[in-house]
Subunit: 365 residues, 2 copies
């Protein structure tokens, strides 16, 4: 059922990712102009992610018809596979943001334009992705708020579930999204559709992130009043200034409840570059962002995903992988910390958080 009201009007809020889930959605990767070698290496890692999550909560994988049999073959029996046409596999960004009133959940169905539409979108067309949120809501039998043209990707926001939202100016004020709206207009949309009171604007996300600096690659809430920030001590890295800037903002700000936010620094891996071989495995298609050898990828451990009882985080074969696991264990002492070697996801332009979308539990704990 489509709702013409807003979550704020109806008393629904977006829970923090750390709150209980009823399950997780993933979309199966396949497009050969983004995923090398026909998507086979990425499909293997997506399968690992689905398996890892399914130890903690139910997983549904959505798949284009022509990959249905293959996805069903590789995914374990206890992972549900449903047909859902899509342009690519970033359900964090094209899927619904679920909100709850403690008894019922509903989906917020944002506009989706492939991270910038005709201005600097990453592929064309994106019509199938724009219908993913609606289709997930139908499968979940939840009502749906359609935001009438307001473009937002789920990865460009993080909430603490208690009225605070963190995002980046680089993304939300980008001229490829809602260029007809002022910053204040955008704040008001977020307040209406996610039922938040306080918006903390970081300036920029991870260096060279093709999403225009999605917050979910640099920052994540651990719980209300506590968060993770991707970090580097390397003053020669262009990322250094970005991290310093984020920290300054976060130190100055308070959340919706007036709290200072405790920050855990999560050291980044060394720069990860696309190899010749990796680049050579990707179809060249006009209108799709090319994967050129030597390009720096936006590798970050902050792109982890919190599930019921665990945190699933990406590893890169970097000495800092181990440190990342330690920092996450300190931040999430009651959860298992599960690392997955995720270079193949990174090669497609994102990581574990970008390829997952939680469905919160309707009932309050």
């Amino acid at each position: 059922m489509r709702r013409n009201s807003t979550p704020r009007e109806d008393g629904f809020r977006m829970p923090g990712e750390f709150e209980q889930h009823s399950g997780t959605y993933i979309i199966w990767p396949q497009r050969p102009d983004n995923w090398r070698l026909g998507g086979k290496p990425a499909q293997k890692v997506f399968t690992e992610v689905a398996k890892a999550i399914s130890k903690y909560e139910p997983v549904t994988v959505c798949v284009n018809e022509d990959q249905y049999s293959n996805a069903r073959h590789w995914l374990p029996d206890d992972v549900r596979v449903v047909e859902m046409s899509n342009n690519d596999s970033w359900v964090r960004d094209c899927g619904p943001s679920f909100v709850t009133n403690g008894k019922e959940i509903r989906g917020v169905d944002w506009g989706f334009n492939a991270w910038g539409g005709l201005v600097d979108g990453l592929y064309f067309p994106w019509d199938k992705d724009d219908r993913v949120a609606q289709k997930i809501c139908e499968i979940e039998k939840t009502d749906r708020y359609r935001t009438d043209g307001f473009v937002l990707e789920g990865g460009s926001i993080h909430v603490d579930g208690e009225g605070t939202l963190v995002t980046t100016e680089e993304c939300l004020l980008n001229k490829g999204r809602n260029s007809h709206l002022t910053k204040e207009d955008i704040e008001n949309k977020l307040k209406e559709y996610l039922n938040v009171e306080k918006i903390i604007w970081l300036k920029r996300g991870i260096y060279n992130d093709e999403t225009n600096g999605h917050v979910d690659n640099i920052f994540s809430f651990v719980k209300p009043g506590e968060a993770i920030l991707a970090w580097t001590e390397d003053q020669n890295d262009p990322q250094y200034e970005i991290c310093q800037e984020c920290m300054q903002i976060l130190e100055q700000e308070t959340d919706s409840k007036g709290r200072k936010i405790k920050i855990h620094k999560l050291l980044l891996p060394k720069p990860v570059l696309i190899t010749d071989e990796e680049s050579g495995g990707v179809d060249a298609v006009d209108g799709t962002l090319p994967r050129n050898a030597g390009d720096r990828l936006a590798a970050s451990y902050a792109n982890f995903y919190i599930v019921n009882g665990a945190v699933i985080f990406p590893m890169f074969g970097d000495p800092n992988d181990e440190n990342a696991g330690k920092v996450l264990k300190e931040a999430f002492p009651d959860r298992e910390i599960v690392g997955i070697y995720a270079r193949e996801i990174l090669l497609g332009g994102g990581n574990i958080h970008c390829i997952t979308q939680q469905v919160p539990k309707a009932e309050e704990m």
Copy 2:
């Protein structure tokens, strides 16, 4: 989860259609070589059927991607629409037959070959239809019995939920289905997968029925020990002999509990022929059964569908429409009787029962 056992082994049985449902599945019609005028008139009637059923139980309509928006537009908000690729819209025949143990439901996923495969199938290919049962089970989150090559359409059987199954030799012994199996082999498959004890074999179904005489167009259980049989008193109609033959068999037989089955006679409409205009609206495609002007359609009121609290039956603009409603009211005194003018469904080769598939309630009443 795929099960390699059988429902009989696991203590699951197929309930009668008259038992409580948790909902109904329908597939949206569209193929222009079967449905005239690009499927638009049929889509209107399928929408009426979905609306009628949704007054009594939840309805899910499955639709190919290219018709998703259109189906979503015409169907009311409280009917769920999910993407599911298909070759045509006969979910009775390609969908799962659900079985229950009183606590849980599971789907039986038969082989599907478009009513006769390469022998006398009605279109080619049928690969998408053959995956519909699995996909519905995944959406319903039910386990699934795959019957490894055993071809069966749900419309070729009716059960009383207490161990009796009625079918036709014309269909189940047709050389386009399981020609490598004997009648006894086929009986054993039915007994294993539907957990029945007694199989009553009618000889033939409705005259000129392209399904090879599906039982659901001529016979239906009202409840254990009581049934409907399509009927004609017109001795010049080739249907006359078929009805007489069915009645003789049913009078001689007893059900699994040793009961005689009480039969309500349901007078057929006058022969319904395809008009020139109707024939002209259908694409001619090699390998698809043509819809020639003057061909007699297998019109029958027995192709009704029982839902929670009602019976939805087809009307043809025939003087017997009213009688059909009366006979159904006598047979189902506690249910509402809802007639829908369904010539457009008939033109595609079936009727209301053929386009619906019930999901039984898991819990016993």
